[in-house]
Symmetry: C2
Subunit: 400 residues, 2 copies
């Protein structure tokens, strides 16, 4: 049984967190610290962007050197520490060293993460003060401040947590995530941080994270952009005493999936300028991969996203995108539905049903279904948001 609980990233036993303002952003919290006692096993998935940011380089390195043993994650917002060369790399390392010294562990047991503007150097002095300040503020109640401290253009903080009652025992999983633009996951997306008090070995932990992310974090898109800083980290501290082996694995993944899904959908719902959550489901494709390719093409289409924003059941655009998605498509057997309303099927247009579809589009949650008509069993779901003039305003003025 998986129950939703409060407590975010510190819901599992053994984790404390804090969020403080250290002056990297002009206003608001901008530094988050998560500490595991004892050190946790850690797994991570990372951006596929080749312009990889310094904190991603350092975190991968530390995971390798520590053999996946992590005491702390330190995260700043307001500055991505990307495209910052050797100086940026040194600053990312200093972020880990300063944290290690403050909380008392080795530098390689600290993972670092950054989000914000690309190409600007971090202020090491501000970070150092922030880390000291955050370490003093660590508590089980710090999850909210931590979730707030990793926000950039996010309209709200994104937290989730569950209590899982399984045959292996009761454990908890908590998490927080950061959106809200430059979101099209590939290997991993955006920033996501997950904790659990289950006791999970390194291989199972990595496998569980990859599996849970695949149809959650890796099935969302806001604008088709994969960031230089994307990472999702999962720490397993073991304090529940519940050991997860192959038998308990499915229940663990199930609970993890619940948290990942909630966070991933929150990222989309809070996408830049978003007013609607759009669920795109593609069926009838030759393979799952082809279904996902079509679903992604639809989810990233500016013409589809603007039509949904305008409440227009313009199914023709859905057909047009499916036709150009680069995979098998048969117009004579394709079907399109908006909500439960089929608007096109077997070459027939059902124009009289458009008012019902328009009614569905008025809601905050929109479902789009496209069958590509080639009679295959491939299906996929991708979540996205609508494209509003507000997205343009946010991104035209992001640095000013």
């Amino acid at each position: 049984m998986v129950e939703r609980i409060t407590g975010g990233i510190t819901a599992p036993a053994g984790f404390e967190a804090a969020g403080v303002a250290c002056g990297i952003k002009a206003t608001g919290l901008d530094l988050a610290l998560i500490v595991s006692t004892p050190p946790a096993r850690a797994a991570g998935i990372f951006t596929t962007n080749l312009a990889v940011a310094a904190p991603v380089v350092v975190t991968r390195e530390h995971l390798r050197r520590s053999h996946g043993t992590t005491s702390s994650i330190v995260i700043n917002s307001g500055c991505a520490n990307a495209c910052t060369g050797d100086q940026g790399l040194a600053l990312a390392r200093a972020m880990a060293t300063d944290t290690a010294r403050t909380i008392g562990c080795s530098a390689e047991q600290v993972l670092v993460s950054s989000t914000g503007v690309i190409g600007v150097q971090l202020d090491g002095e501000k970070l150092r003060h922030g880390i000291t300040h955050a370490a003093a503020a660590l508590s089980r109640d710090g999850h909210e401040a931590a979730a707030e401290a990793i926000m950039t253009t996010d309209p709200w903080a994104k937290e989730a947590a569950v209590r899982a009652t399984t045959s292996a025992g009761v454990f908890h999983i908590g998490g927080m995530a950061k959106g809200a633009g430059m979101i099209e996951p590939n290997m991993a997306t955006m920033l996501g941080f997950l904790t659990t008090d289950a006791d999970v070995g390194p291989d199972l932990l990595q496998r569980a994270l990859a599996e849970a992310a695949d149809d959650t974090f890796n099935a969302i898109t806001v604008d088709g952009e994969t960031s230089t800083n994307d990472m999702v980290l999962l720490l397993a501290g073991g304090r529940s005493g519940v050991r997860i082996d192959e038998t308990g694995y499915p229940a663990f993944v199930d609970a993890l999936h619940t948290v990942c899904r909630e966070l991933a959908l929150a990222v989309v719902t809070g996408g830049e300028g978003a007013t609607k959550l759009i669920t795109v489901t593609v069926t009838g494709a030759r393979t799952t991969a082809e279904a996902k390719q079509t679903a992604r093409a639809i989810a990233n289409s500016p013409l589809v996203k603007t039509a949904v924003h305008g409440g227009d059941p313009n199914w023709g655009r859905l057909v047009a995108v499916a036709g150009r998605a680069g995979v098998a498509f048969d117009l004579t057997h394709a079907r399109v539905r908006i909500g439960e309303v089929e608007l096109f099927g077997d070459g027939q247009v059902f124009a009289d049903r458009e008012p019902a579809a328009a009614e569905h589009l008025k809601g905050a949650k929109v479902a789009i279904g496209v069958d590509v008509g080639v009679g295959g069993t491939g299906t996929a779901t991708v979540w996205t948001c609508d494209l509003s003039a507000e997205y343009v305003h946010i991104n035209a003025d992001y640095r000013t």
Copy 2:
């Protein structure tokens, strides 16, 4: 020597055109007719979208059956005749038959083209009246009305023409095109119609069109959307008496390229909501194809397009897109310039140069250069426009 002249689609000898209102659109001209006397040789390139519209099916069929001999092109705007099943196919055929009867040729010597809303049936009666009306209005002065009649959300009509003085003799090429959204060419893009009074054999004509389109129509993008109706047609009537053989071919392609480029750039400049023409040049890639892939990714990036719209020299977004474009990229040797201003190179950020780059972004023509840093010889240029709130407004309300 290639000189720009006026006269658009009827600048070459032997062509007449007309544009009339037949009531498919609520207001304005919506039917264009082009007639060649004598029948011309014809070449065409077509959308790669698998949800291909009825007029594309019929035009391909007629080109095949007539062995590329064409007397007329008839085009309507306001209705794409796409996703319209057997009835739509019959209406596209009727459009050709009605035109053939009116001007006196065989149906297969008529090519048909449509643009506008998807999934709505054409009104055959209105079309028939429009064709009669247009045939009566045919003249050498009809090019402007014809160019106007193929517009949908285009802010202005797009025409171009040249006089080419070559060693083979003097000939003319004219053209008109339709934008303004759902523009990302692949095999062909949008609607483009070209005429020439040169005498060109069928193989050379098709080769010339493909070659000229490759780095003009096929190197532009407004929103990454490939339409169901895209086609570019080229008619060669031969009335100049200038025979183009292999020797004269380069000069012919050169002249054709001039017209295609002018029309293609006009499509981008007149893109939905566009305020700036952006030239994206990618260098240093392993191959031309990889350079083009990166250039397209940049040109379609909503974050790049909104930054340009906002006048923000946010070079970090350019690096981020180049890094996720799916081809070889080396951050340590990559370079980014906006206008003539290098903002990033060899891992160095030149933040003090941003004001100069911001100054460049104030203009109506913006140049972006990205060297992907892998030391190859692959280069490519793609043209696009910025992304404004107006694009969202146009496409949220397109059918209302």
